[in-house]
């Protein structure tokens, strides 16, 4: 929160330096605006940039670094003074003794000997006490450490404010002195803006890099505990490992084949719904429908694409799944209330507009001359569509369907709400199956410990998901682009 005030202060200084830079440019032009290389405003922007950018860079480095430094100083303080018997006694009396599993007769605490979670706990305790939000029952000595921590941070904050203001002022001052009629302020400002734009255009690359690195990093940690072959080819999935090491329980097994099978089953059902309906309606819209009909029906179908997936999930769980169960009951079939059929069908509904709009693009891209050639031979419309247009449009349609498959595989909310949680290796659409995305959500929602294979498994699944969809996307985009080029 306080950082916001610092930012506000820097921005205030920036405004002032803008005005001063502009004013100096006007003054130095001596009443002859044409003598200036750049408009006075550019001189203002130039000084303002020199004021704000270095100061903000400093701030961005300082803000995340400062709590870390403060914490390490506080821990040093803790280590240096804990050997004092009075301090030791006060810690022993507090709940901290239990948390750090302190021996009753210990005379000191060696921080480097603590387990990672205890170390984190200690840090959290210091932080909470410094913020005044800690619960009761803490040691007086800990309060001392917390005060030290807070004092360090307060000083550091004042230092930061001073440093930022100094840097801002110095930057602005230097730039201000550079102002001269012949200075190319506009070019420099434009260089800065261009640099900013280049930076922005790399965000997309950084995002991909971030995805790949974070998934890989966590997945590699997972595969250090669970062999890759077991994960990829194992037939049994039950990730419920013990929360704590000393707890007795199943060790968990991480064979992901049932998840892959479940994902494919549900995606297959979805495509069985989406492809015929989407493709046929696209053909009808492109080749038969009156333009007035198209003007009404097309936006209506696009509504389906705009509905959030959580709504589909609710629809599946509330209406479709019970409906299938009841129908199944009435004809003597045992349909699970979380059947793959219900989830897949609703997912198919969601994907219909996706398939239909992609197919529509592809079909309308087929040159009119091909249709005319066919009509000229006396072919009916449907014959033209089936014998001429569809074969010509096939690569594009296949590309569109691949994109739709990738969509289905990555879809999360519908399956989280309507598909099962338990792994089940089956091809029966009436039974409950679970999917990759469902497992990622179940493993990561709620309290987590970042080192357990259970949490890391989610990242391994995420990596598989990412690679699968990436391959589909690259192939599909390539096919579609090749198709477009053919008729351009």
């Amino acid at each position: 929160m306080e950082t916001l005030y610092v930012i506000a202060a820097i921005l205030g200084l920036t405004l002032i330096s803008f005005a001063m830079g502009r004013q100096r440019a006007v003054a130095r032009s001596e009443g002859q605006p044409r003598a200036l290389h750049s408009l006075p405003n550019y001189h203002g922007h130039f000084v303002a940039l020199w004021c704000a950018v270095p100061a903000l860079i400093l701030l961005v480095i300082w803000v995340p670094l400062e709590p870390m430094l403060a914490m390490s100083a506080a821990l040093d303080y803790f280590q240096a003074h804990i050997a004092d018997p009075a301090h030791m006694e006060s810690v022993r009396q507090s709940k901290l003794a239990l948390l750090l599993s302190l021996e009753p007769n210990a005379t000191t605490i060696d921080l480097s000997a603590l387990r990672a979670d205890q170390y984190n706990l200690l840090q959290t305790e210091i932080r909470n006490m410094a913020a005044g939000t800690a619960s009761t029952g803490h040691a007086a000595f800990m309060q001392e450490v917390a005060d030290y921590y807070q004092g360090y941070r307060d000083t550091s904050f004042l230092l930061m404010v001073a440093a930022c203001v100094a840097v801002a002022g110095a930057g602005a001052g230097v730039a201000w002195r550079w102002i001269a009629p012949e200075m190319r302020a506009r070019n420099r400002v434009e260089q800065a803006v261009t640099a900013f734009m280049i930076l922005c255009s790399t965000v997309a690359i950084l995002t991909t890099l971030g995805i790949v690195l974070s998934l890989l990093f966590e997945a590699i940690r997972f595969f250090a505990q669970i062999p890759l072959t077991e994960f990829l080819f194992g037939l049994h999935w039950s990730p419920q490992t013990a929360i704590r090491a000393d707890q007795v329980g199943s060790t968990g097994s991480f064979g992901a084949v049932p998840l892959f099978a479940g994902t494919l089953l549900i995606s297959f059902i979805a495509m069985c719904v989406a492809v015929p309906i989407g493709l046929l309606s696209a053909i009808y819209m492109a080749e038969y429908a009156h333009s007035k009909v198209r003007a009404v029906v097309k936006p209506l179908l696009e509504i389906l694409a705009g509905i959030p997936t959580v709504v589909y999930g609710f629809f599946a769980a509330l209406t479709v799944a019970p409906f299938f169960r009841d129908v199944g009951e009435s004809i003597g079939l045992d349909v699970s209330s979380e059947s793959a059929l219900a989830a897949g069908m609703v997912m198919g509904i969601m994907i219909i507009p996706f398939v239909s709009s992609l197919s529509d693009d592809v079909i309308t891209a087929v040159p009119q001359s091909m249709r005319e050639g066919s009509y000229g031979l006396g072919a009916t419309k449907s014959e033209t569509v089936r014998r001429v247009i569809l074969p010509a449009a096939l690569p594009g349609i296949v590309g569109g369907i691949l994109l739709a498959v990738s969509r289905a595989i990555g879809e999360t909310m519908i399956v989280v709400m309507a598909a099962g949680l338990g792994s089940n290796l089956t091809a029966n659409p009436l039974e409950a199956v679970t999917t990759v995305t469902v497992q990622i959500v179940t493993l990561l929602v709620g309290d987590q410990e970042f080192d357990s294979p259970k949490t890391l498994a989610a990242f391994a699944l995420g990596l598989v998901l990412f690679i699968m969809t990436l391959c589909l996307n690259i192939i599909a985009l390539h096919v579609v682009r090749k198709y477009r080029e053919q008729y351009d």
Partner: protein, 461 residues
């Protein structure tokens, strides 16, 4: 309608043998009926597909509206509550803090007992008390905080009924079912209560009927649904907390993704040289647009929460994740908008000596802006409906308080829907549907704005 005409012109077949021509003609005519039938069938498939898709759309809307419209009404009971100063504010300071912490439940209970004088005994009294929602306490507290002079007075106030009775009056629960299960339970017959329904006693059923007969119960607009945060009690749960969370999240998303997206699009479209590096960026952006949203959630979890140590459940982190997710959409739309500005405009500006950046900022961007804004609104609509990545960064917490800043723990509308949909109570089902209606309302507004913008500023060059 159809372009297919059998060649009936006698001059056209000039084949060598007129006999075979005649048979070809016959064959053709014989097949015509079949071909036209196939044509009709094919058309019917198309119409059928469209009708099927639209039927699903209608079913979805009917289901949601049908199960949700009742949430906009809340049944309340009129109580005459006497606010004794000695219970509420014994010191007589009328300090808002004291009034806020005071217990009004006693006064409400007394008012309830007075409605049913014949209900004596602990279980009967408990049944009576359970008729009103625990939220009645807050209703009266808020009234007193608004007007402290009410302390010491007898006020007539409508307080919400507990959810079971609310649902019975709305016709969503059949009271006979729950009461029958009680009878079955008492007679030892195996019984099962529909999931999510609480037992109501026969006494309570009678009390409710009595209240309705006396005209003390009234269904009115459910303002709590729009002003409250989440709650474990369906009748107290509202969407305001989630709506504010969504607002903060979208605000962060918009503030980041619009400038970054536009700047990136301008660079790629106007400045970037055509080389391998820009090809990589281009392919990368197209692929990123098709990456499953949950993967962005994993990225947010690993990078923002784990690596940078940002707070869980905060809209600011949600906004960051959604920024990365919507950025490709905005960049792609913005590039298309920039492409549609004719080069002659750029030449004109360059010709009078504008620099490249001046050309872009003074002429090209303003002309491309409607297209960019349309793309941004569509991206924001996607972000508003997005759930999965936010689950990953802990925005699924049960949050009662309305978030005051983007740093406070919060949830968002779609996640609120997800949370409520998990609760089996009929009162929550109703609210889930109502929240969906609100969410869809926002989305329709946003998309309508995008369409209007496109129509209004569409320019033919």
């Amino acid at each position: 309608m159809t372009e297919s005409t059998a060649p009936t012109d006698p001059r056209s077949p000039s084949g060598p043998s007129s006999g075979s021509t005649a048979s070809a003609k016959e064959k053709m005519q014989a097949s015509l009926a079949r071909r036209y039938a196939a044509e009709k069938r094919f058309q019917a498939y198309g119409i059928g597909a469209i009708i099927l898709a639209l039927a699903m759309l209608v079913t979805l809307f009917v289901t949601i509206i049908g199960s949700g419209y009742t949430a906009f009404v809340q049944y309340t009971v009129r109580l005459d509550v006497t606010l004794y100063p000695q219970d509420i504010d014994p010191q007589g300071t009328r300090d808002p803090e004291v009034l806020a912490r005071a217990d009004y439940q006693g006064a409400i209970n007394d008012a309830m007992y007075s409605l049913f004088p014949d209900a004596s005994g602990r279980s009967a009294r408990r049944d009576v008390r359970a008729l009103v929602s625990p939220g009645a306490n807050f209703v009266i507290r808020d009234m007193v905080l608004d007007d402290p002079t009410l302390v010491g007075q007898r006020i007539s106030v409508y307080v919400p009924l507990a959810t079971e009775f609310d649902q019975i009056l709305k016709g969503n629960i059949d009271p006979a079912v729950t009461m029958r299960t009680i009878r079955e339970a008492s007679t030892g017959i195996p019984w099962s209560l529909p999931p999510g329904e609480r037992l109501i006693s026969e006494n309570q059923g009678r009390y409710l009927q009595q209240l309705v007969r006396q005209g003390e119960v009234e269904g009115s607009f459910n303002r709590w649904f729009f002003t409250n945060g989440d709650s474990r009690q369906p009748e107290l749960a509202g969407i305001w907390g989630a709506a504010v969370g969504s607002f903060f999240t979208l605000l962060v998303t918009l503030a980041l993704s619009f400038p970054i997206g536009v700047a990136a699009a301008v660079y790629l479209e106007e400045f970037a040289p055509k080389n391998r590096w820009t090809d990589v960026i281009e392919v990368n952006i197209n692929n990123l647009a098709a990456v499953p949203s949950i993967v962005f959630g994993l990225l947010g979890l690993a990078v923002f929460l784990q690596f940078f140590g940002m707070p869980r459940s905060a809209p600011v982190v949600g906004g960051l994740v959604l920024t990365l997710m919507t950025l490709p959409t905005i960049i792609i739309a913005s590039r298309a908008a920039l492409k549609s500005v004719p080069p002659s405009i750029r030449e004109a500006a360059l010709g009078v000596g504008a620099s490249k950046l001046q050309t872009i900022f003074h002429h090209v961007l303003p002309l491309a802006m409607p297209g960019m804004l349309t793309g941004t609104i569509i991206g924001m609509a996607q972000a508003l409906g997005e759930t999965a990545p936010l689950l990953m960064i802990g925005m699924v917490a049960f949050v009662v308080d309305i978030p005051a800043t983007p740093m406070d723990p919060s949830t968002v509308l779609p996640v609120q829907i997800f949370l409520w949909s998990d609760s089996p109570e009929r009162g929550f089902t109703e609210r889930t549907s109502a929240a969906i209606m609100c969410l869809l309302g926002f989305l329709i507004l946003m998309n309508a704005a995008a369409v209007l913008l496109r129509k209004r500023f569409e320019r033919k060059w």
